[in-house]
Symmetry: C2
Subunit: 218 residues, 2 copies
């Protein structure tokens, strides 16, 4: 009898991901999977988006980290329901963890859940977690060659946020190169130049998200 361990594992994650998706659909919640390198600015982007969205939408956050809870504390300080998911060494979040942790959030009172994935430009892209939407963040200091070097993360996303855009003058960063490579691996997908610090570009990104939140809610 044939044994396919890896294949089974992947299928299994896909199954649980679909289950999570169904639970979220029942509650009309849009779940956003936020991915990017360590230090790309995932938490800052989420907090900036919370400021822009919280007037019209009820927001919850799942903070993924290998260890610690500094990020969940940052979110909770904004008076937003937040839970910390520690992977204890694992390099990505899997759907099973989301299924396990979802009941910790007040699902009947939420329109959108941001999931901050582990800082990693590789592994999280391979695991669906039941999300409605994926955001990949690339920050200017990381360099303009990342789409070529970590293609899956840019292929399998619904939008790309080019973060720390205000740092452009200090780095030798070829935006056209990123745009061209992104268009190659993910034709037609939107790219949002953003600075979480100055707030530039956040409005467009928030409007894009609101479309999806509205569609999940209806």
């Amino acid at each position: 009898m044939e044994i396919k361990v890896l294949h089974q594992l992947m299928d299994w994650n896909e199954d649980v991901s679909e289950e999570v998706k169904a639970t979220l659909a029942e509650h009309r919640i849009c779940m956003v999977n936020v991915m990017g390198s360590p230090g790309a600015g995932k938490t800052s982007l989420i907090t900036s988006l919370i400021s822009r969205l919280k007037e019209n939408w009820r927001i919850g956050v799942i903070e993924g980290d290998i260890a610690g809870q500094v990020d969940a504390e940052r979110i909770a300080a904004l008076d937003i329901p937040a839970v910390q998911l520690n992977t204890d060494g694992a390099c990505h979040i899997e759907a099973m963890s989301i299924r396990h942790i979802l009941p910790e959030l007040p699902l009947d009172d939420l329109d959108v859940i941001f999931v901050e994935n582990i800082g990693n430009l590789v592994c999280p892209a391979e695991f669906r977690i039941g999300e409605s939407l994926r955001i990949t963040i690339l920050s200017v200091p990381e360099g303009d060659d990342k789409v070529e070097k970590y293609p899956l993360m840019f292929t399998d996303t619904d939008c790309l946020v080019l973060n720390k855009y205000d740092m452009m003058p200090y780095f030798d960063f070829d935006e056209a190169r990123v745009r061209a490579n992104y268009e190659t691996v993910n034709p037609g997908a939107p790219l949002f130049p953003v600075s979480s610090r100055t707030g530039d570009g956040l409005q467009k990104l928030a409007a894009f998200l609101e479309e999806h939140i509205r569609s999940a809610a209806s």
Copy 2:
């Protein structure tokens, strides 16, 4: 009968790592495993170190990337033997790949091999590849919370390079926080503030490396 798949895999990598180590010892080569996030500046640091070391030592490079060969081209342009190791999606290099690729380098004519690992602050730390020395790079734009959030990478290294140190004025980065956390997880291990761009701090790091190269060569 008990079956321990994960444990077996880890042991297996450890065995091959020891094998690689023995091969390198035979050739009196110091192999340096360079790890860090995407965009931390691994390739730039390696090229800067090459400039400082190549007068006295014979250098080779193994460039790890998920896809592509832009980094190996940068190294080869310096007239240094370089091989590209593509992991085709995998998030770290394993010892087996190093064993496989080593014969592609002129081992009898090398004193030091730099291995640029996949840009990832998580997984590479878990896999020994037969290296004599590990360098973990953290760049200033990534933020000062990384040691707490990705502890293994900072625990299991022989030194920490704080790269893009010239960017300190533009980021809200608490160096004391990094130093304190690093000292907690890796007591006594050296930390080198470096700017590959300006060259600041490279001399001390190069001297540290030369000690190890000398010790492997003798």
